[in-house]
């Protein structure tokens, strides 16, 4: 659709995006509030950020969360990429619909069910709960997101490129690493980033599957939030939001620049014939 925006459209966009961003903006502003009372502005201050650095428990939780997120995102990316390859490439095989069902169901499944079921599995297996169980749980639901992201990249993939590599003497496994992986890499990286932030974010599944000594940042934030809003939590949230925002904007700027460059190249190459 290419029609000029009307006043109605502009108004709905402005209102819509204000609704989406105002709460976060307010949260960021109030993290610089001098006053302990979150809703009363007492002047600008960064003292809550300073006190964060003193909060060992919070820092510990952050460290656990980062480790869990990094490990689970990495494993989930490997498994999710393989799963996407199976979904797109394998054609028909035994239990295919079960497999695709297992990939898509976790995307909409309530987290309480996922968390509870994984916990009961770990209990039944007699696994000691802690860092590893949270990591396994996060890997499981994150790999489904990775699979979906990578799959969308694979669908537009010209399979004859792989055939060409094999035709030129490259065995299948080598072809995957030399040809397929580099081509789908943007999707794989996006999948990893998504898996990482999902793990960073998760409260419910982590609460079910964690054990002593493995309290994640969302769990810490949650328990403090239940006690009431504090400027310190605002400060943690601001840092998290800031990091994610910078990451996403940087990633999309890089992608956009590549795209623009590519379009320019293609335009330049066009018409070199004849």
């Amino acid at each position: 659709m290419t029609r000029g925006p009307t006043w109605f459209n502009i108004t709905s966009l402005v209102l819509g995006f204000s609704f989406l961003y105002l709460p976060i903006v307010l949260l960021v502003i109030y993290s610089f509030n001098e006053s302990r009372l979150v809703t009363v502005w007492g002047g600008f201050s960064t003292k809550w950020y300073a006190s964060l650095l003193q909060n060992e428990q919070l820092l510990d939780a952050a460290w656990v969360t980062l480790r869990v997120a990094f490990a689970s995102a990495t494993i989930a990316t490997v498994l999710g990429t393989l799963a996407a390859l199976i979904l797109v490439r394998s054609g028909r095989f035994m239990g295919r619909s079960l497999f695709s069902g297992m990939i898509f169901a976790p995307l909409v499944m309530p987290e309480v069910i996922l968390g509870l079921s994984l916990l009961l599995l770990f209990v039944a297996m007699g696994t000691a709960r802690g860092f590893w169980t949270v990591m396994l749980a996060h890997t499981t639901f994150a790999m489904c997101y990775v699979a979906v992201v990578v799959q969308s990249r694979l669908v537009g993939f010209d399979k004859s490129v792989e055939e060409a590599a094999e035709d030129l003497g490259c065995p299948p496994v080598k072809t995957f690493f030399l040809i397929t992986l580099p081509i789908i890499l943007p999707g794989v990286i996006a999948g990893w980033m998504l898996a990482f932030t999902l793990s960073l974010d998760d409260l419910v599944i982590a609460s079910f599957t964690t054990g002593p000594g493995a309290t994640t940042l969302p769990m810490k934030i949650y328990s403090q939030v239940r006690l009431g809003v504090t400027p310190e939590i605002n400060a943690v949230c601001t840092i998290l939001v800031g990091l994610v925002t910078i990451g996403v904007i940087a990633a999309s700027l890089v992608t956009k620049r590549q795209q623009v460059q590519r379009e320019r190249d293609e335009r330049a190459a066009f018409g070199a014939d004849g």
Partner: protein
């Protein structure tokens, strides 16, 4: 050289195993847990570790398994029908999710429409603005509303400053706060598929409609809305299904009389430590959600087939 059945993607046993890995992983960590949940939902609460009986002890072999099955009962499910708390939670979850989905649609449609009608150059930026909140922590976004909605919160301060109200409005810890939270958290899930289907809509269709004598507002109802329906349906499913089982939003924004099944399950599990009953709650929740999930997957399949 006698391999007559060799296919182009020839797979060694190692290759097959590698490919089977995600499958096995999901069988172990996704499907098996459900069977365990189902099994435990048929067990009894017990003062032991783990806190239910019978616990299947594989060491006892087949005999132990048979013994365990003999002790299974549907008592937990009967209990769910007898205690009004549970079925009220289910009903209220579905109602709250449905109302929130409706509001999300009412707010999301103009946004998606405005995006699709905006100049080409704006669209990538607008799209990123919608996706960005999706990447930021869910918990943080819900938390941000507490400071706004509470009695001495920013919204009430603002309204009192304008002189619109004398007494602070009680919003936090009511269902209204839960609606706001769900709409806010799930808005991107609805806007994205909706925008995709609106953007694909061929502008010349509207021009054709107007050319044939249809005024713009009528063209909107006769052309734009029906053609964006797949996006509307996909978006509504993406909001409704997870909202039914939502825990964080009713827990942080809702009040003590906000009944949602995700919260009930959490309380049953963490506070009452009744694993069998919470398992039964999960099984029933899953059964309620199976229908919309299957409908959603069918619709997705149909859409991808249409594109392909």
């Amino acid at each position: 050289m006698s391999e007559q059945t060799a296919t182009p993607a020839k797979r060694t046993i190692g290759g097959k195993l590698l490919i089977a890995m995600p499958y096995l992983w999901l069988l172990v960590f996704f499907l098996a847990p459900f069977l365990i949940v189902f099994k435990i939902s048929l067990s009894q609460i017990a003062v032991s570790i783990p806190p239910y009986s019978p616990a299947i002890d594989l060491a006892e072999g087949w005999q132990g398994l048979v013994e365990a099955f003999r002790e299974f009962s549907f008592e937990n499910y009967i209990w769910l029908t007898e205690d009004a708390l549970y079925w009220k939670s289910y009903v209220s979850s579905v109602v709250i999710a449905a109302i929130s989905t409706l509001f999300t649609l009412l707010i999301g449609y103009p946004i998606a429409y405005g995006m699709a009608r905006s100049p080409q150059a704006w669209r990538p930026t607008l799209l990123m603005l919608v996706i960005l909140p999706f990447w930021t922590s869910f918990l943080i976004r819900v938390y941000a509303w507490i400071g706004i909605l509470k009695n001495e919160g920013l919204l009430n301060q603002f309204l009192m400053m304008l002189g619109l109200i004398d007494e602070p409005l009680v919003i936090l810890n009511t269902n209204i706060a839960v609606y706001i939270g769900i709409v806010y958290s799930y808005l991107p899930f609805l806007v994205l598929p909706l925008y995709a289907s609106l953007e694909r809509l061929d502008g010349s269709l509207l021009e054709a409609a107007e050319d044939l004598g249809c005024p713009p507002w009528k063209a909107f109802w006769k052309i734009t809305v029906p053609l964006s329906l797949p996006g509307v349906i996909a978006g509504c499913f993406l909001v409704f299904i997870p909202a039914v089982g939502e825990f964080v939003i009713p827990d942080l924004l809702g009040g003590s009389n906000t009944l949602m099944i995700g919260k009930t399950l959490w309380v049953e599990f963490f506070n009452n430590r009744d694993w069998p009953v919470s398992s039964a709650v999960a099984v029933i929740l899953l059964m309620i959600l199976v229908i919309p999930i299957v409908l959603f997957q069918n619709q997705q399949q149909k859409m991808s087939e249409k594109e392909g």
